[in-house]
């Protein structure tokens, strides 16, 4: 393929935008779903209040990235949107149900008295189930629609097409990853006992996530012929080796910066390094995501549908491109501003409204 062809490849542009949307979603809603996953491990009401308040001003914006990912798939790759959503009907529905419960918990928990334990339950279970479903959908997409099932009839296939040992594992992997992001976020946004607790959980989750990343990688390489060829043929492994090496490096840095010592020891030094674990976790996600793309590209549905065969006509792609080029940077700017307004520790957050 010549360079000029690549520069004007609109479907490729949208593939990258879709990737960006998914990554932003995983990063941003990842840490706030993760807060819900970690919720049961913080027992006192005060801790739960802090956890909830730390994300109540951002969850809505974070979830918007899920809608954005959905509509980009719909607008740019309608055929893939149609096939994927109808084939994975059940996990998507269960994810949506779970997101409803955890979403409304934000509004009602602070206004409730007797029903508070129910909202705690709705928030933590909803977050956990949503994260698990997302992980399972990811695993199911990587495995693709089984050979022998026609893509046009995949939605009529067994209700349990998405439940495989592999997708169950990716479900747990994504859950662990989200919880790690949340631990990093909490570590950055809290102080004293809460911060130390976040660091302790963060370290354990780091180990678990590394295990899952390794297991998923080895499993796909054994299981998926195409991915194996891409990783292991010729010198490819050499070019791709920075992905696993950097992952291990980032994990080591995050481990070290998760300071579990008592905060009194050296306040100032600690303050400087507080953001590191979160950004290392984000880096781990980015590397994992890159590894995934290396395996899947250029397929939206492995072996069946490429980004070019699923793409909408140019008239649609061109029209939307202007909007993306103009508005996406603006969105990033005011999202950043929003986080800046609420910078500082959650212990200082006031009650809202």
């Amino acid at each position: 393929m010549e360079l000029s062809q690549i520069t004007f490849d609109l479907p490729l542009f949208y593939f990258l935008i879709l990737g960006f949307a998914i990554f932003m979603y995983v990063l941003l809603d990842g840490f706030d779903l993760g807060i819900g996953i970690l919720f049961p491990w913080f027992e006192s009401k005060a801790e739960k209040d802090h956890l909830m308040r730390s994300i109540s001003h951002v969850w809505d914006g974070n979830e918007t990235w899920l809608i954005f990912g959905g509509v980009i798939l719909f607008a740019a790759f309608p055929a893939a949107y149609a096939a994927l959503t109808s084939t994975f009907y059940l996990p998507i529905m269960i994810m949506l149900f779970a997101l409803i419960f955890r979403g409304v918990a934000f509004e009602y928990r602070f206004k409730s008295d007797r029903s508070k334990p129910w909202w705690d339950f709705a928030f933590s279970t909803g977050s956990t189930v949503a994260a698990f479903c997302q992980g399972m959908i990811l695993g199911a997409v990587v495995q693709g629609i089984p050979a022998g099932v026609n893509i046009a009839e995949a939605s009529m296939a067994s209700s349990w097409i998405w439940v495989t040992p592999f997708s169950v594992m990716t479900g747990f992997a994504v859950m662990t990853g989200y919880a790690l992001l949340a631990a990093g976020y909490l570590y950055m946004k809290s102080r004293d006992a809460l911060q130390i607790k976040a660091a302790k959980y963060g370290r354990r989750l780091l180990v678990a996530l590394l295990f899952f990343m390794m297991a998923v990688s080895i499993w796909t390489v054994i299981d998926q012929v195409e991915i194996r060829q891409r990783w292991l043929s010729g010198l490819n492994f050499l070019w791709l080796s920075p992905l696993p090496i950097l992952s291990i490096l980032l994990a080591c840095v995050a481990w070290q910066r998760f300071d579990t010592r008592n905060a009194d020891s050296d306040l100032h030094e600690k303050h400087v390094h507080e953001n590191w674990p979160f950004w290392c976790a984000a880096g781990l996600f980015l590397l994992g995501f890159a590894g995934l793309l290396v395996g899947l590209f250029p397929y939206l549905i492995p072996r069946q549908m490429t980004l070019w065969s699923a793409a909408a006509p140019d008239s649609s792609l061109q029209f939307l491109m202007f909007g993306i080029v103009i508005f996406l940077p603006l969105i990033c700017a005011y999202t950043l501003w929003g986080y800046r307004v609420f910078s500082g520790k959650i212990e200082d957050y006031q009650e809202g409204y």
Binding site: V71, A75, A79, Y81, K111, S159, G323, F342
Partner: protein
């Protein structure tokens, strides 16, 4: 009616979209009212405006939140339940919805955090900007979704290539023939809905003799708005009706219960029981010739009737006919209340007349009911088409095993019933609690000067100082 997967998908979509529309139809107008109050507070320094804004922001928050979670469902349901529809119309509807997300959803969500939780973290002006941006975001959102929906009623600017819709002119797609009327009608509806919610609760406080100063302000303002907006809505609705007559005559025939293939001197039916089998109305009560006058603006204007198309191309007539009457009746009731308020105001009895206050309380949910009824007219009136004249609803649903759709439908019914119950319970709780006290408001305002990050830095410093001191 056969309960196959297609029928179940249609029921599920109708159910989920009906549930969803309840919430935006309140929040679009309410966001605008809150922005108006906050702006008036900044301009006049009258604390009662701030009290109005700070009270109504709470119902706004829970309404908005419920709207968000029920809205996410819809953005995936196009694909899960109507995969063939999304594949065929994706190149047209996809970009419109993507623009909605890019220009509205992110804007609303990005500034909502500051609007709800940022009172002490940004300056008063910045906070007002956030409120204003959220309100504008809700309007932009309506623009795109109405454009997409209107295109399904009056498709334009498209060509069909290999069974897929391609766009030949985006301008014609967005500003399709019914779009301006539908947008105007819907935005007015949301403003009126919010006005009657606020008026109803204010009237309730006045009846109970609680928070009277606050309630008088709310009732008086919204009744002024209603006086202008409700007659305007009748006018826009009439224009919209003419547009329907031009582009979707069968829908109009169902709305008015007109059976003959062509009828001149159409009566205005106040009551009728349309019988689809017999192709006629039973128990008609009507005013002669008034129908023609309204539909064609002439006493003998002819109108195309239902029998001009075969039965399989007709919508469910009783449903369209009665939904339309419910909407119009509520609209008339609202015009009456607005005029009643004007008369009472001139006699200085607006805040005391028990009949008026009681009637206004009973109209608290009427805006929402009218919006729902109106959407039933629009959407069921278009059937059996999903894209008017081009695509049948029965041809575009996903191929799914019925039990799978039945499962999700049952879950939606359970979850949404729960959600509605909880929503009403907490609304009741907020209303019983009443507006924030004046002293409380003043205290909250003290910390409103410094920007968030500066404040956070200072607080952290204080915390560290304390630790060192120990």
């Amino acid at each position: 009616m056969e309960f196959d997967a297609t029928m179940l998908s249609r029921i599920q979509f109708a159910f989920t979209v009906s549930f969803h529309i309840i919430f935006p139809s309140i929040t679009i107008g309410l966001a605008t009212l809150i922005a108006i109050w906050e702006g008036l507070w900044l301009k006049t320094n009258n604390p009662y405006y701030l009290q109005l804004a700070k009270f109504w922001i709470k119902p706004f928050a829970i309404t908005f939140g419920t709207g968000v979670v029920s809205g996410i469902v819809l953005s995936y349901e196009f694909g899960t339940n109507f995969s063939r529809f999304s594949e065929i119309t994706g190149p047209i509807l996809g970009p419109l919805m993507a623009y909605e997300v890019l220009t509205a959803f992110f804007l609303e969500a990005g500034f909502l955090g500051v609007m709800l939780f940022g009172w002490q973290r940004v300056s008063a002006k910045m906070h007002y900007t956030a409120t204003l941006v959220v309100a504008i975001g809700t309007w932009i959102s309506s623009f795109w979704i109405i454009a997409a929906n209107s295109w399904m009623h009056t498709p334009a600017g498209y060509e069909i290539v290999d069974g897929i819709f391609h766009v030949s002119s985006w301008f014609e797609v967005i500003f399709n023939p019914s779009m301006p009327y539908r947008l105007g009608h819907m935005l007015l509806a949301t403003m009126i809905t919010a006005c009657f919610v606020v008026a109803g609760i204010s009237a309730y406080y006045l009846l109970k003799k609680q928070h009277t100063v606050f309630a008088k302000k709310g009732l008086s303002m919204t009744m002024w708005f209603a006086l202008v907006l409700t007659p305007l809505q009748a006018f826009v609705g009439d224009l919209h009706g003419l547009n329907v007559g031009q582009y979707q005559p069968i829908k109009l025939a169902a709305m008015e219960g007109i059976w003959p293939a062509w009828e001149e001197s159409v009566p205005l039916l106040l009551f009728a029981l349309p019988d689809m089998e017999a192709e006629k109305n039973n128990a008609e009560i009507g005013i002669p010739k008034l129908g023609s006058l309204i539909l064609t603006h002439s006493f003998d204007g002819g109108v195309q009737g239902l029998k001009s198309v075969p039965p399989e191309d007709r919508p469910n007539v009783p449903l369209v006919f009665w939904s339309f009457r419910v909407m119009v009746a509520i609209g008339m009731g609202m015009i009456f209340i607005a005029l009643f308020a004007l008369v009472l105001r001139r006699k200085d009895r607006l805040y005391e007349n028990k009949w008026f206050l009681g009637l206004t309380v009973s109209f608290t949910p009427m805006g929402v009911i009218a919006v729902l009824a109106g959407w039933y007219v629009v959407e069921t009136g278009r059937q059996p088409w999903v894209v008017q004249g081009l695509l049948r609803t029965s041809d575009v649903a996903s191929l799914l095993p019925p039990e799978r759709v039945l499962f999700s439908l049952i879950m939606f019914v359970i979850i949404y019933s729960l959600l509605l119950g909880v929503y009403l319970y907490f609304m009741g709780k907020l209303i019983r609690k009443g507006p924030p006290k004046m002293e409380q408001l003043e205290q909250q305002l003290i910390g409103m000067k410094a920007p968030g990050y500066a404040l956070a830095w200072v607080k952290n410093l204080i915390h560290e100082e304390k630790k060192r001191g120990e």
